[in-house]
């Protein structure tokens, strides 16, 4: 390498730590280019991580959990339960004589707990005025980006059983 260098040139340390003020800007530009490249690598790493998560995701296995008895909840009433685990709050709404719907209570915006607004018949989030439809959990109003995950509820004899979650 030294054989190819111009013999009149200063050694590298003199160029990097020059006494002339205008030489400082060249070091700064190189540093900036290096920093931006490293940030770009970090962004790519983020995308790669999402890809890895997507590839390695196992479809979740849901247990059947009895959440209520038939007739326990009045029409237009609600019952709170946990599904699939104790830290996953869910809400069961009896919308009609024979129809029950259940959703995760975690708002898809910033994870506040939604409640059933009986007068408007919607699932409202008190934090930022988000609103979900009680028929399919889709977003009616407010900042939530995604619909509420639905808990599939089956009627087995006298019990209402939660079998799986959809859209989680």
């Amino acid at each position: 390498m030294s054989g190819l260098q111009n013999p009149e040139r200063d050694p590298l340390w003199r160029e990097e730590f020059s006494v002339f003020a205008e030489d400082e800007q060249y070091v700064t530009r190189r540093q900036l280019a290096k920093f931006l490249t490293l940030t770009s690598l970090a962004m790519f790493a983020g995308n790669a991580w999402i890809l890895a998560k997507s590839l390695l995701r196992r479809p979740p296995v849901y247990q059947d959990v009895a959440i209520a008895r038939v007739g326990e909840v009045p029409v237009g009433g609600v019952k709170l339960f946990s599904y699939p685990g104790p830290k996953d709050p869910c809400i069961l709404v009896r919308t009609g004589e024979e129809t029950y719907v259940a959703y995760s209570q975690v708002c898809t915006h910033l994870s506040c707990v939604v409640f059933f607004n009986a007068s408007s018949r919607r699932l409202d989030c008190p934090c930022h005025q988000g609103s979900f439809s009680v028929t399919d959990g889709s977003v009616i109003a407010g900042p939530p980006p995604r619909p509420l995950p639905r808990v599939v509820v089956e009627r087995r004899g006298p019990d209402l059983v939660a079998t799986r979650m959809e859209g989680a």
Binding site: F17, V19, F20, A21, E22, E24
Partner: protein, 192 residues
């Protein structure tokens, strides 16, 4: 200022120290004067001399600074030490052939004359040259110097084997043809 140069003529210095006081007034160096004021041989004579930084073309202070704190701009002015970088090692104080940089020990910072950069960069004279009553320190064009002075300016100094070329001129006797001051000639110790 473009076209203007700084000329030092110690033979004109009357020792009033107006330059020292004027330099002290500047806010950029907090009331500390950057003039190097000397009494030549105080017990014997009353002669005095005032010096500013000579702003060498190849500044020794900048070359020896381990923290890369002293920079020279495109206009040839060697700036004082950059405060975030200076570590107060006094390498420049020891290295300067003219003895200009001063170490402010409590601040761990070297401070020296920067040709009143806040003034000269906007077309004003440095403070010392403005107030010097005898114009021992003057900031004028070379034409005015040629017209009004008997002495001739030089900016080449010899320190033993080292030749130092500066931006600031010193006035030397007109009888000297090749104007280069060898400092060793003026020292009282015998040459080896």
């Amino acid at each position: 200022m473009f076209g203007y140069e700084f000329y030092i003529d110690p033979s004109r210095c009357i020792g009033c120290q107006s330059c020292v006081k004027a330099c002290e007034e500047c806010e950029t160096h907090r009331g500390k004067s950057m003039i190097n004021f000397d009494f030549i041989d105080r017990p014997e004579i009353i002669a005095s001399a005032a010096y500013v930084c000579f702003h060498c073309e190849d500044p020794t202070c900048a070359e020896v600074c381990p923290a890369d704190a002293i920079k020279k701009g495109l206009d040839g002015i060697v700036q004082s030490a950059l405060e975030p970088r200076c570590i107060g090692c006094a390498n420049c104080v020891l290295a300067c052939p003219f003895g200009i940089p001063k170490l402010q020990a409590p601040q761990e910072l070297m401070m020296k004359c920067d040709m009143c950069y806040d003034r000269t960069s906007v077309g004003k004279r440095p403070m010392c040259a403005t107030v010097c009553p005898s114009q021992a320190l003057s900031y004028v064009t070379p034409e005015i110097i040629a017209r009004t002075r008997r002495e001739t300016p030089t900016n080449v100094f010899q320190f033993g084997h080292q030749t130092v070329k500066t931006k600031v001129f010193m006035m030397v006797p007109e009888t000297v043809d090749v104007v280069s001051i060898d400092v060793l000639d003026y020292m009282w110790e015998a040459r080896p």
